[in-house]
């Protein structure tokens, strides 16, 4: 256990340079992108003088290096500046939307994992049998379907034809916001006040978007799990366990799956970025009031500070998840810790 603690500390410290690099990339990309934030903000015909003044105000006339340092300084203090369009701190805008996105992506990921890992392992166990072919076919098809198309189809089928699911928003009108908002995670909020009718409403609203996201990514996980399982099932320790009389199901779903899970976990860390991208599209399809929608809205408005803030938060999430993934990895695999 001492080794594990040491590993976690080292790994956490290593996240710092990673975050620095991510922040630098965000800074650079936003500044070399075409388009001048100030003139777009003030409209194309603003007089030169006004533009200059505004630039001065925003510190855009400082040398790049000075801007860079003050940018890092601000981010280190959790200050993402002020929106250029609304009178609003960027952090406030984000804090308002972040829980919605996390709730959606977390549920999406859980669906992906359960479906992908279980179906992948089952397919590997039933290699070359009908079940295997069906699961692989599903994996390929779902992988090819674009996330927004899948979202639209689910809306059409469950929201319109069958008319059993809402197709937009996080809640119905009856339980609309603020009456229960504490953490911003509606699943938790409704549980905290024990309003089960509201909880049910929140869950119903979450279902289609979470499945859209979860199904989309499940294809990759099926393929990955199946391939890893096939490898692991060939390992000597599997046949050795069989030789000791251990039940087949236990061998497949404990011995083999645990070993196959390690690369899956790594993949999960890498997929978070994709998940975020998927979330942006899903949020748009389902009018989900999250970070993705915030980002798109502000891109239309050329609200550079907010855009930058959202991207920074996405980057931090990716870095954070990869940290967590590596720690779980070390907890599963004793060989990593030493």
């Amino acid at each position: 256990m001492r080794h594990l603690a040491k590993y976690i500390i080292t790994r956490t410290l290593l996240t710092i340079p990673m975050v620095l690099i991510l922040l630098s990339i965000v800074f650079l990309v936003l500044r070399i992108m075409p388009g001048d934030p100030v003139s777009s903000m003030l409209g194309g015909h603003a007089p030169e003088k006004v533009i200059e003044q505004k630039k001065e105000e925003l510190g855009l006339n400082e040398p790049m290096a000075v801007q860079y340092v003050s940018y890092l300084w601000q981010v280190a203090h959790l200050d993402l500046g002020e929106s250029m369009v609304f009178k609003q701190r960027v952090t406030t805008a984000i804090a308002d939307k972040l829980p919605a996105t996390i709730e959606l992506t977390a549920c999406g990921m859980i669906i992906t994992l359960i479906l992908g890992v279980f179906l992948g392992a089952y397919a590997a166990d039933r290699r070359r049998q009908v079940q295997d072919s069906m699961i692989r076919l599903y994996g390929i098809v779902i992988y090819c379907i674009p996330v927004y198309w899948l979202g639209l189809m689910l809306q059409l089928i469950f929201g319109i034809w069958l008319d059993v699911m809402p197709i937009a928003g996080r809640t119905g009108p009856r339980v609309f916001a603020s009456t229960f908002e504490q953490t911003g995670f509606y699943l938790i909020d409704t549980l905290l006040i024990r309003d089960f009718a509201a909880l049910k409403d929140v869950m119903i609203h979450l279902t289609l978007p979470a499945f859209t996201l979860g199904l989309t990514l499940s294809g990759i996980f099926i393929r990955l799990t199946r391939a890893n399982m096939l490898d692991v099932l060939k390992a000597d320790y599997i046949i050795a366990a069989e030789a000791r009389g251990i039940r087949h199901s236990r061998i497949v779903y404990r011995h083999a799956l645990k070993n196959a899970f390690i690369p899956i976990l790594t993949m999960m860390g890498l997929q978070v970025a994709l998940l975020m991208a998927g979330a942006i599209l899903t949020e748009t399809t389902f009018s989900w009031p999250g970070m993705g929608r915030l980002l798109l809205e502000r891109i239309y408005l050329r609200d550079y500070p907010t855009i930058q803030g959202v991207i920074i938060v996405f980057a931090l999430i990716v870095a954070g998840v990869s940290l967590v993934v590596d720690i779980i990895y070390a907890m599963i695999d004793p060989r990593i810790r030493y």
Binding site: D236, A243, R244, G245, H255, D333, P334
Partner: protein, 319 residues
Amino acid sequence: MNNTILDIQDLKVEFPINIGTVRAVDGVSLKLNQGEVMGLVGESGCGKSTLGFSILRLLRPPGRIASGRILYHGRDIVSMDEKEVLKLRGRRIAMIFQDPLTSLNPLFSIGRQFVETLQTHEKGINKKQAILQAESMLESLGISKERLQEFPHQMSGGMRQRIMIGMGLILNPDLLIADEPTTSLDVIVEAQFLDLLADLCRQYNLTIILITHNLGNVAQLADRITVMYGGTLAEVGLSGDIFHTPLHPYTQGLLASIPNIKLDQPELSPMEGSPPDLVNPPTGCVFHPRCPQVMDICTRQRPPAFQKNGHQVSCWLYR
């Protein structure tokens, strides 16, 4: 009194592959007596492991037992249902493998793998009892019980192989199939391990099938030796007889090609030719294309097992 523990009768094992069928074991009949160590030797690919796996019905698909019977204490393993086979595995018949590093699950502690094995077979045994049993097993193998908390990668090869055998023997089986258990160990550790195996054999009244291509190993340990060639048995006999008066030309060739055995042969002579293609085996005796004493009949008809000077030898020379 019948003290035959295992009676293999005309066993055939096939691997259907896209270019045909590999006849990995092709009509093997062999009897094992309780408490003996049987050495099983032969070139790589002659079907030793396949024979070993068949006894526990552990063949990986597409491999399958095509015909024959394997009587263990008189009960046919080939026709048993899966549930009964599960009860035999580990409990009555244990198997250990060549590479002890890869034979233990890297993610589970040694203790956990012991506990799992015990709890699988002994209903109602709790974790504490299982751990105690595992601890005393380890101590009898000269490994400190603290090692139970460790993981396979933290141990040396010799130690892992001792753990494998401990895990194999903890349920008190009476038959142990050891498939090249020392191939991955260095010479000194190998010698120690073979000593241990000999001790255990006496202590547990074990019957052992020791698969190896190292004839030195079998010389040290085995009571009898079975020589396999191309999926068939070439010769079976007492250890000393096989070494000093080999009858089958293949056995003679095998012995002549081994440097570290004291033999009357004046010089080392590697055998000509290569092992047979098991998809299209030669007609007649599988060894005839390489045999220095080949006769007419050898190319046409497969030799049955003849009894000669206490050997059982499949060669027309001894008709």
